[in-house]
């Protein structure tokens, strides 16, 4: 999707949050605001929000000198989510529809996002809400059917912490049938997005092959992806794309993609006809037709 003008104030806000995460120096925060504001007029609306975000976070990195301002928050999120892991597994094991529950939990994990939403609520209440609330867009039946005939899944990760919830879903997918799963991480740190180190830390490498997208964009920008990633992208039977960034960069692609995300911004609510906070499990064709 293209970038909307509504995204511009949001980028400026995100830049300030990243600056504050990088340093306590208020003069640097001010420099970040001024530097990002001064390049807003250079942002083309024709490219996707994650591509603009990539440019914004490069400015933040240049001004603050920090390439990974949310390092601490990511590790805290990983640890917090890992502490929940046994409980998440039990919840799945004891549910009537294990795969649906695992999907709902994976979407709930997407609440852990420092980009659009400033602070995430208590993670226990997030899990409770996920289990008791209906999906805002529900293509679960098609998802289940696609899984039945699939061999190779490409799983596009989104955030640190969230990946523990992804692990639970991947375990459930592999329990249902013998599947190969490639889990895609960002090439280098951006916002709180998952990198190789996060994936290994939470043990994702034991149940999936971890590969880098080849890009540090907080989404999946195919023109920036490595040849290896693109081969997997084109040969996968199903692509599971987590989060708004992956949605924003792939919603006009014509692959067999299922988007699993929490809706976090007004632009997406308008595009999808849903509400902030809705959990979405949506097949690509549905969205591509409605665009």
């Amino acid at each position: 999707m293209k970038t909307y003008l509504d995204c511009m104030p949001c980028f400026l806000r995100q830049a300030l949050e990243a600056a504050r995460a990088a340093t306590d120096d208020e003069d640097v925060h001010h420099q970040v605001i001024n530097s990002v504001a001064s390049v807003i007029s250079e942002f083309p609306l024709e490219i996707t929000p994650p591509e603009i975000a990539q440019r914004v976070y490069r400015v933040v990195a240049d001004v603050t000198g920090s390439r990974d301002p949310f390092h601490k928050e990511k590790w805290q999120a990983n640890q917090l989510a890992l502490s929940l892991y046994p409980r998440l597994r039990r919840v799945v094991a004891s549910s009537d529809d294990r795969l649906l529950t695992a999907c709902k939990l994976a979407i709930a994990g997407n609440t852990i996002d420092l980009g659009p939403a400033s602070k995430y609520a208590d993670i226990n209440s997030i899990v409770e809400t996920a289990l008791t609330s209906p999906l805002g867009i529900d293509n679960y039946a098609e998802f289940r059917e696609s899984i039945n005939s699939a061999q190779r899944i490409l799983y596009l990760g989104d955030n640190a912490g969230e990946i523990v919830f992804d692990r639970v879903l991947i375990q459930e997918l592999r329990r249902v049938k013998d599947l190969s799963v490639d889990f895609v991480v960002r090439e280098s740190p951006i916002i709180n997005d998952v990198t190789l180190a996060d994936a290994v830390y939470v043990g994702l490498d034991r149940i999936a092959s971890i590969i880098s997208s080849g890009s540090d964009a907080p989404g999946t920008i195919l023109s920036q992806c490595s040849p290896q990633m693109l081969r997997l992208y084109h040969s996968a039977d199903i692509i599971i794309a987590k989060g708004q960034g992956n949605y924003e960069s792939l919603n006009e692609e014509r692959q067999n993609i299922f988007f699993l995300l929490k809706v976090k911004c007004p632009v997406i609510t308008r595009l999808l006809g849903v509400n902030i906070g809705n959990a979405i499990l949506m097949r690509q064709s549905t969205s591509a037709l409605s665009d």
Copy 2:
């Protein structure tokens, strides 16, 4: 108070909303975003948010050619509030503490604000909530006492629509005792702030003298106020200041000011130790000491 870096993304968002109110031309919206973004680095943090907002809305006016983009919204707000007027009067007349109820309604009216909060909720539910919720900061006892010994009140208005609720409070003040009330409006249109035409339209001129601040700032910037306004400001026994803009521009002044407002932004929540949506009736001294 000074301007915070958090205000900058908010100004950009407000500029976009004003641009959209002024025209449907998306190229113009984009020009407004770029023009405001390009001057953000020139905004000094030492001046108050309403002074920056004044600059922002001048840029919007210059780019869109519209000096009053919210004209239609203001008249709709006036008409909507006027339709509620008989009910507001009945609610006050039938309540145990008429003055407190009138204060709560006047604060509820401050919800009608196109600056910080994008769209206001159903006005009926706003009134219900106001009557049943406690004040977030409650200096009502001091307010009541101050009124008892006051002769001259300077009432600093905020928004169109809201002024109908102000009318109800002023009527109640004048019922309690014989008071002279000067009601201050903005010199010319900015956002949805009250101007002379709005005040006359809702009949405020029948119960108060309407005077212009002498400035189009969406707050009370004393250095921009007319000599007449300043005389009234310094001679009033009590100043009632409605809304965040008047709070932001007067919270460090040492007059006998009572701020009546709804809290609409995270910066104010942090400054006052309250929550978004809280209704505030606060004496100046309380805030000046805590600054």
